[in-house]
């Protein structure tokens, strides 16, 4: 008995540990370790690239504007599609996939800005030296500039935070002016460029990292925006000059337009091409499912449901005819067929700009070896397999997105991970930036020259010297709409041009395609799909979330909100 008792006491004494509470975390790395290990520093810097949203989230920005008909009742997509966004619901769009593709970039942006600031501060104070250090610092500066650009194109001037705060620090943030933000972006780019290589070839292992050319491309876009009507109310010509110069600097850096417009966007990451200046690459383990979010039922995809980017009739109508003429003309808010263009309402898809067939799947398109049929019989009792009558996975408007959608060499299934990269900057945009800036500077010849470079690649005739003034501006705007469709430019372009109050008040249209099975005759009737809430000028810039204004009383809400 005493033995047992002794055993219990002894085992008790053995069991008790004095420092039982001293346990280090096992599933994470301490901060000290990160900043003293070259590989971890690099991993930290790699992660900064996630700051910049790409366009392959379930909700693409195309459905926030007149590029496509949005059928998603969900979240951010709906508030933009119907123009019902406000400071009260804007955070609906603050996430990736379902949550609006970071259209409300405020939270994501400032989090990554802090990450970049921490990185820059740590690198500045660290005694650790390694070969790539200056380049990594330069990349972080480029990324910070890009983040600020993502913010200002949405919100206008925002608070400039160039250092990292610690928890408990108090700070009162005020919005810097848009121009000050542009200056800050310019300075970061200037600082970054000396330590960056000029470019990486698209086949290089580092392709996708910041380069001097990427800096210049960002500068071109930023200065173009800064010169535009929304941000340049006095139409300061100097700003247009800066925009033109920034674009011009990139014209002869070894880039060229990829010969095949259709193919450019479906090349897998790592394919050889010379057009992309900066892009987001993907792999089969880190890829996207854009085709399945956009195609129709024929491929088991969800195109007609929440993810629809089914192109709108509005966009379709804006493709020129192969004659080089616009199919429609607008005057006084009404649209009429441009008879001179050769447009035939009974055959609306004939003789259109080749980029139309490269961008949009429509009735009678052959895609992936399949004849796409969007028609519905006159009696309504039979229909084409791709029509909305067959399945709600087929877009109601009668069009399916083709840009970025693979050809027959890539299988279409939820099981395939797609690796075609997302273009942030490509040469065609630089040409169009240049053309626009030159136009605003009065150099219509150069403007047409660069518009035509873009058109030539697509196989379109030149814009004639007879097109000048406002007509030419309309062509500049339209060329950008067509060439850069679905690349997330339209939403911002119509705002900076201050034409959104016109564009966004037009209903989103689709096409009813009715086939007489007896005669085989097909008739095409545009159909109104969505009437948006009337657009107000304040919508040119996004509001900041109500709570964020309450947290920052001095910062002020975006003008008009």
């Amino acid at each position: 008995m005493k033995k047992i008792f002794a055993f219990i006491i002894l085992s008790g004494m053995l069991a008790c540990k004095k420092n039982v509470l001293d346990i280090s975390p096992q599933d994470r790395i301490s901060e000290d370790a990160v900043w003293s290990d070259e590989n971890l520093i690099k991993a930290y810097e790699n992660e900064l690239y996630n700051a910049i949203p790409h366009g392959f989230y379930i909700h693409m920005y195309s459905k926030y504007t007149d590029e496509s008909y949005n059928s998603a009742p969900c979240c951010g997509a709906d508030i933009f599609a119907r123009n019902t966004y406000s400071p009260d619901n804007i955070t609906n769009a603050s996430g990736g996939d379902f949550w609006g593709g970071y259209m409300y970039y405020w939270n994501q942006g400032y989090q990554y800005i802090r990450k970049a600031n921490v990185f820059l501060e740590q690198m500045a104070s660290s005694k650790l030296q390694f070969t790539d250090k200056p380049r990594l610092v330069a990349e972080a500066k480029f990324l910070r500039a890009f983040m600020y650009f993502e913010l200002i194109e949405r919100f206008g001037g925002v608070p400039l935070v160039m250092k990292s705060y610690q928890l408990g620090d108090s700070a009162s943030f005020v919005r810097s002016s848009f121009d000050d933000c542009i200056s800050a972006i310019g300075k970061d780019l200037d600082d970054a460029m000396p330590d960056l290589p000029a470019r990486y070839l698209s086949t290089d292992v580092n392709f996708g990292r910041a380069t001097q050319d990427a800096c210049m491309a960002l500068r071109s876009r930023a200065y173009l925006y800064a010169a535009s009507a929304l941000f340049n109310p006095t139409n300061d010509v100097q700003k247009w000059q800066k925009a033109a110069d920034a674009a011009e600097a990139l014209l002869n850096r070894g880039y060229s337009l990829y010969p095949d417009y259709r193919k450019l966007f479906i090349l897998p990451s790592g394919a050889a091409e010379d057009e992309y200046i900066f892009c987001r690459s993907f792999t089969s383990t880190n890829g996207h499912q854009a085709p399945m979010n956009n195609l129709g039922r024929r491929y088991g995809a969800y195109g007609g449901w929440w993810a629809s980017n089914g192109p709108s009739q509005n966009l379709v109508d804006d493709y020129d005819m192969t004659s080089g003429e616009p199919a429609f003309t607008w005057s006084g808010g009404t649209k009429t067929v441009n008879a001179a263009s050769g447009y035939d309402p009974n055959h609306p898809y004939w003789n259109r700009d080749p980029r139309f067939d490269a961008t949009i799947i429509h009735d009678s398109t052959t895609y992936h070896g399949d004849l796409i049929e969007m028609w519905i019989s006159k009696d309504g009792n039979s229909w084409g397999y791709d029509s909305y009558k067959q399945s709600s996975d087929n877009p109601r408007g009668g069009y399916i997105l083709k840009k970025f959608m693979p050809e027959a060499d890539v299988p279409l299934s939820w099981q395939t991970i797609y690796t075609n990269p997302w273009p942030y900057f490509r040469l065609a945009e630089i040409y169009l930036n240049y053309a626009e800036a030159k136009f605003e500077l009065g150099d219509e010849v150069t403007c047409r020259e660069y518009l035509n470079k873009v058109r030539e690649r697509a196989g379109m005739p030149d814009i004639q010297a007879s097109v000048t003034g406002d007509a030419l501006r309309a062509r500049v705007y339209n060329e950008r709409r067509i060439e850069l469709a679905f690349e997330e430019h339209r939403f911002f372009d119509i705002r900076r041009w201050k034409i959104a109050s016109d564009i966004e008040n037009r209903p989103i249209m689709g096409m009813d395609i009715v086939k007489d099975l007896g005669t085989g005759v097909t008739t095409y009737t545009p159909v109104q799909l969505l009437v948006k809430v009337p657009y107000q000028d304040k919508m040119n810039l996004l509001p900041v979330e109500t709570n964020e204004i309450k947290r920052n009383p001095k910062m002020g809400q975006t003008l008009g909100w």
């Binding site: 069991a15 790699n46 996630n50």
Partner: protein, 1135 residues
């Protein structure tokens, strides 16, 4: 001895002399088979037996512990104690009858009564200490002409009981006691057995055995004042308890056929709020709150099973549970930093001395969802979609509807089930009922020195889907052994396992329910030829069985080893030690295989086979997870009575706990065949493989103690504390001190009171105050740490990323709860009315919460750490009423309880709201913002005249302009005063017993809870989601401008009160009706002691105040796995 004032007396009587039939024995073997086993349970109290001393012949007491001995041995033992002498002839004592006696301070009269119950012996007191034993055998024909039995019936305190019934068994001879407790019963002879019963008291049977004067001391029925309540690290008598502790016995819980123990607790324990939000087999754990939610941090209570914080409470075998008690107030302070949300203590059964008792039960149950929303049929769906479509288009005059009139007609008449089906998805996918099966076998018993309980239980529960692998299976194994190694040293082991296998579809179940309830009824589920169609988004739930599975095997083993040593040289001093080792292994196999559906192709008129979403090749993820908990506990307890009136118990202890968790998972895809779901069969290509893992550990170091003092059980005082060390916090903030004090006054023990209000059995006033902590936040928040992840791609390859976790907060510490309670307990008229009222209040401070309300996003902090910033007040009451009575052979009791809890946020770092009515501060935890709906806009005129949001059209909800600024914006939202956690929960439990029949009817309910249901708002949207019938009924249309429901595709600026529903309901939670076979019948066959058949039901009926279309307990969107209604048939056999 003190503190053990009730004793268990089990007397196992084995007669080898003759069987009850009187048949001559055929063989020895036969003897053994027809053992007569009789069991008695007596409860005595110390006070009763002490006060009974020296009040006449046979009023003395005996303490004895003998097992399987001859009667002569018992008599010798009594004689050896020196108080009694016996006179008898040796040969009259049966030699081959063995008895067991285990009594402490039992009245001699009753001991002898039991001893001679099955013999023909009788006894008589010749003097106070001289007993004559005689054998009055045969002389059967000589009839005693007339005899009268006199006696007196008293309670444990010696007070006379008036109105007690004394019946001679199997006769109609009966007497009732007078005011002085005396009775007199006329009998034919002085033989037979007397049954004495009294309301609220344990009925007794005593052999007359030739006596003409028999006195009885009645004992209180168990579940009342003499109940023992489990409190932290010890037990206390209910009557001297000072804290707010409620307890329910395992017996009550086992009445419910619900497979989940926690779901059976709803309404049973006042102060405990249990809401079951899902009924999915194996994933149906309800949320539990004690006294509502007093914090906006983690409000879940601490759950202690047999002394250790353990999981799977819901998965315990209800048959193994002795009791569940809930520490609601400062009595939880003994659990220190984890106990601010209250503590639930579960004690499991243990073996008691005696012959092996077997308890077997078998249950078979049918289950089906309580309520499945009725969704629109295809034709109505098409109509509302057309309406929504027309509104979206801007209400054009010339419109081609999405669904033509012709199509709608076909949906209605079913003439084309391929292209125009009218699919009732609920009917197609859910089975009318599924089954559940439950088998339990328990064996318990013990000898003088070793006691044991072995228990085995198994339960199967099937899912509700057709074509779905959902299945739940559980095995409960328990072995509990206690051995007295020496007179003073007892060691024990309690080892149990809850092996469970869960199998689900490889797709999340809530997704499945969306695919059922929101699936478009105009699309086919299954074609007339039997082929399965694509369903919503190609995810037809009928295909679930073809998509692989998610199988989870849990194999937790919980072990507790205890030792208890009574220090021989210091009376009252005891040492207890325990070592607990819990190990839980989980293996999850997620097997996804490609699946196919068929789709009718209008062009080719063929059914195309198509691959669904998900994987293209079979892929498998095997995940191993392991948890361990080690806990050492040492306690020293000292209990002593000073100067006969001062009762002191003191306990100090220390406890160390270490926990660990690790997991590892392996993934492969591109399996050659889907026939083998093993990881080694998958492709070995590097791109097709992946693996991962993680690990964490934690620790606590604690010192705790308790001091109890009472004066004659009248003035009660308690102090308890815990000095709690937790590894979660930074080094200098790890230890905290959490004290609690309480006091009680048993007014009913005061002589003046007892005399003036004799009808009061018990009246107690009690109060507690203490400070408890809550440390439920992620560990290491004081460090800045980084995690791997968020990889990026350069060129054609992945590059690794790391990112910072939560921002560090070097000052993080406990959340503190200060709790105060006052209570009044009373029992009147011997249990005819019982009442317990507790009023309580609580203030939480230092609440750990993210200060995200005031920290601007411009700072760019990643996740913010918890900071000790919040303050919440919480208050409420609990009221319990009980009534216990007997009317003839009908015995019944009714117990009702209601609990109220309401919190109020005092401070939470709230950014200033636009309008004062929006502040969360001042409102309960969980109060949300809503727009106020004021009907709908019936006409364009109404719309034009009233401010409305940009998206509003005629037929939309009229959102009230609360601040009258002419604009509908977020400023018009107001803070709603309730959340979906109910403020009032109540229960009503009734038990009836009539002869062999028993009936339990248990109602449970809640009120002052509201939930917003976004799915109830859905109608006619672009996503083709189906809607509930009530949403479409009487909706606004151009032709029905007076409709009360909003139009199809209605717009609202955010959540409006229009779709905010009152969650009030009352539910017939448990109904059980049983019949026990008469013992007389059973005793003829000598096999079973007790056979009971019963039918029971769970969630049988529900009355919802407002939510009549779905189960009102879901508390939000109805697209979740619904709660189950269970109808069960069972049999219970004891032998």
């Amino acid at each position: 001895m003190l503190g053990q004032s009730y004793y268990l007396f089990i007397n196992q009587y084995e007669s080898m002399k003759k069987s009850l039939f009187g048949c001559p024995p055929k063989s020895i073997r036969f003897y053994y088979k027809t053992l007569l086993m009789v069991k008695f349970i007596f409860l005595f109290t110390l006070i009763g037996s002490m006060q009974a001393m020296g009040k006449g012949f046979g009023q003395g007491t005996v303490t004895l512990k003998l097992k399987d001995v001859r009667i002569s041995k018992v008599i010798d033992a009594i004689r050896a104690q020196g108080n009694y002498r016996f006179v008898y002839k040796d040969q009259i004592l049966p030699k081959d009858e063995k008895v067991s006696v285990d009594v402490i301070n039992a009245p001699i009269q009753q001991v002898l009564g039991q001893l001679f119950l099955h013999t023909t012996l009788s006894y008589k007191f010749l003097s106070e200490d001289l007993i004559v034993i005689t054998n009055d055998e045969p002389a059967p024909e000589v009839r005693t002409v007339f005899a009268t039995i006199h006696g007196k019936v008293t309670n444990a305190k010696g007070e006379p009981l008036e109105g007690a019934t004394v019946t001679l068994k199997n006769t109609n001879k009966q007497a009732v006691t007078k005011a002085d407790g005396t009775f007199s019963l006329e009998t034919d002879d002085l033989k037979g057995v007397l049954i004495i019963s009294f309301v609220g008291m344990q009925a007794q049977e005593v052999a007359v055995a030739g006596r003409s004067e028999i006195n009885f001391i009645m004992q209180q029925l168990t579940s009342d004042l003499n109940d023992v309540v489990v409190v932290g690290y010890s037990t206390q008598k209910k009557e001297t308890l000072t804290g707010s502790v409620v307890q329910v016995s395992g017996k009550e819980i086992a009445k419910s056929p619900a497979p989940n123990v926690v779901s059976s607790l709803a309404g049973q324990l006042p102060g405990l709020t249990v809401n079951q939000r899902s009924g999915e087999p194996g994933r149906d754990d309800p949320s539990i709150f004690i006294r509502g939610t007093g914090t906006f941090g983690d409000a879940s209570p601490l759950i202690i099973i047999d002394g250790v914080e353990r999981s799977l409470l819901a998965r315990l075998n209800p048959q193994d549970i002795e009791s569940i008690s809930v520490l609601k107030d400062a009595s939880a302070a003994i659990y220190g930093a984890r106990a601010a949300n209250g503590v639930i203590l579960i004690t499991t059964k243990k073996g008691v001395k005696g012959k092996t008792a077997f308890n077997f039960s078998y249950n078979y149950a049918f289950q089906r969802p309580t309520k499945i929303p009725q969704m629109l049929d295809a034709a109505t769906f098409a109509e509302v979609y057309n309406e929504g479509d027309w509104y979206r288009k801007g209400r054009p005059a010339n419109n081609t509807p999405f669904y033509s009139d012709d199509a709608i007609q076909k949906f209605k008449d079913g003439s084309d089930p391929v292209l125009y089906p009218n699919t009732n998805w609920v009917h197609e996918v859910l089975r009318p009922y599924s089954y559940q099966q439950n088998v339990n076998l328990q064996a318990s018993g013990g000898s003088e020195t070793v006691r044991y309980l072995l228990s085995f239980g198994t339960m199967n529960q099937d899912g509700n889907f057709r074509h779905n692998p959902t299945f739940y299976q559980q095995y409960n194994l328990r072995s509990k052994v206690e051995a007295d190694l020496t007179k003073n040293l007892t060691v024990g082991a309690n080892i149990y396992a809850i092996l469970n296998n869960r199998k689900y579809s490889s797709v999340a179940t809530n997704v499945n329910f969306i695919n059922i309830l929101q699936a478009n009824p105009t699309i086919v589920a299954q074609y007339p030829n039997g082929l399965i169609g694509p369903g919503r988004l190609g995810e037809n739930p009928l295909l679930m069985d073809q998509r692989g599975f998610d199988a989870i095997q849990d194999a937790p083993i919980y072990s507790t080893f205890t030792a208890s040593y009574k220090i021989p040289f210091i009376k009252g001093l005891r040492l207890d030690a325990s070592y607990n080792y819990d190990m839980s292994n989980q293996f999850e196999k997620l097997w996804s295989i490609p699946y196919y559906f068929y789709e009718y192709n209008v062009t080719t008129k063929q059914y195309d086979k198509k691959q669904g979403t998900g994987t293209s090749t079979a892929s498998l993820t095997d995940t191993y997870r392991k948890w361990t908990t080690r806990l050492y506990n040492f306690r020293m307890t000292y209990e002593k009575m000073f100067f006969t009136d001062h009762h002191v118990t003191a306990m100090v202890g220390l406890e160390q706990q270490q926990t660990s968790y690790s997991d590892a998972s392996a993934y492969r895809k591109n399996f050659v065949s889907t026939a083998i779901d093993q990881i080694n069969v998958g492709s070995t290509a590097p791109a097709d493989k992946n693996n991962s893992g993680s690990a964490t550990s934690g620790a606590y170091n604690n010192y705790f103690g308790r001091l109890n003092y009472d004066f004659r059980s009248k003035y009660l005082f308690e102090f308890l504390f815990r000095y709690n060390g937790s590894q979660i916090f930074p080094q200098n903030k790890r230890y905290g001190f959490f004290p609690g004090v309480s006091a009680g006054w048993r007014i009913s023990e005061e002589p003046f009171f007892r005399n003036s209000a004799p009808f009061v059995d018990q009246l107690k006033l009690r109060a507690t105050y203490g400070q408890v902590g809550n440390d439920r936040v992620g560990p290491y928040q004081y460090l800045q740490s980084f995690s791997f992840g968020n990889n990026y791609v350069f060129g054609t390859s992945d590059v690794p990323g790391i990112y910072a976790n939560t921002m560090p907060n070097p000052n993080i510490t406990w959340e503190v709860s200060k709790k105060a309670d006052v209570g009044l307990e009373t029992s009147l008229w011997k249990g005819l009315l019982g009442m317990e009222l507790t009023l309580w209040m609580e203030r939480r401070s230092n609440i750990l919460a993210q200060p995200n309300l005031s920290v601007s996003n411009v700072f760019g902090f990643s996740a913010l750490p918890s900071q000790n910033i919040g303050k919440v007040d919480n208050h409420g009451f609990e009221l319990m009423l009980s009534h216990r009575n007997r009317v003839g052979a009908l015995q019944y009791n009714i117990a009702a309880n209601i609990a109220y809890a309401r919190s109020k946020i005092i401070f939470m770092d709230e950014a200033p709201q636009s309008e004062p009515y929006q502040n969360l501060t001042g409102h309960p935890v969980g109060a949300a913002l809503y727009y106020k709906g004021g009907g709908i806009f019936h006409t364009q005129d109404e719309l034009d005249k009233y401010p409305h949001g940009a998206g509003a059209q005629v037929g939309d909800i009229r959102v009230l302009d609360l601040n009258n600024d002419g604009v509908i914006d977020s400023k018009d939202q107001f803070r709603f005063n309730y959340s979906n956690t109910p403020e009032y929960v109540f229960g009503l439990n009734t038990n009836f017993q009539y002869k062999g029949f028993d009936l339990t009817v248990f109602f449970q309910g809640q009120t002052k809870a509201y939930s917003y249901d976004n799915t109830a708002a859905v109608l006619g949207g672009t996503d083709f989601a189906n809607a509930v019938v009530r949403r479409a009924a009487n909706r606004w249309t151009v032709n029905n401008p007076n409709g009360m429901m909003p139009r199809s595709d209605a717009w609202q600026p955010g959540a409006t009160t229009f779709f905010l529903y009152d969650d009030t309901f009352i539910r017939l939670k448990t109904l059980e009706f049983g019949y026990s076979l008469p013992r007389d019948l059973l005793s003829r066959y000598h096999v079973f002691n007790d056979v009971r058949v019963y039918a029971s039901a769970f969630n049988l009926l529900t009355w919802a105040k407002q939510i009549k279309w779905a189960d009102p307990e879901i508390g939000g969107d109805f697209t979740t796995y619904p709660q189950q209604r269970i109808i069960n048939l069972g049999v219970n056999v004891k032998f």
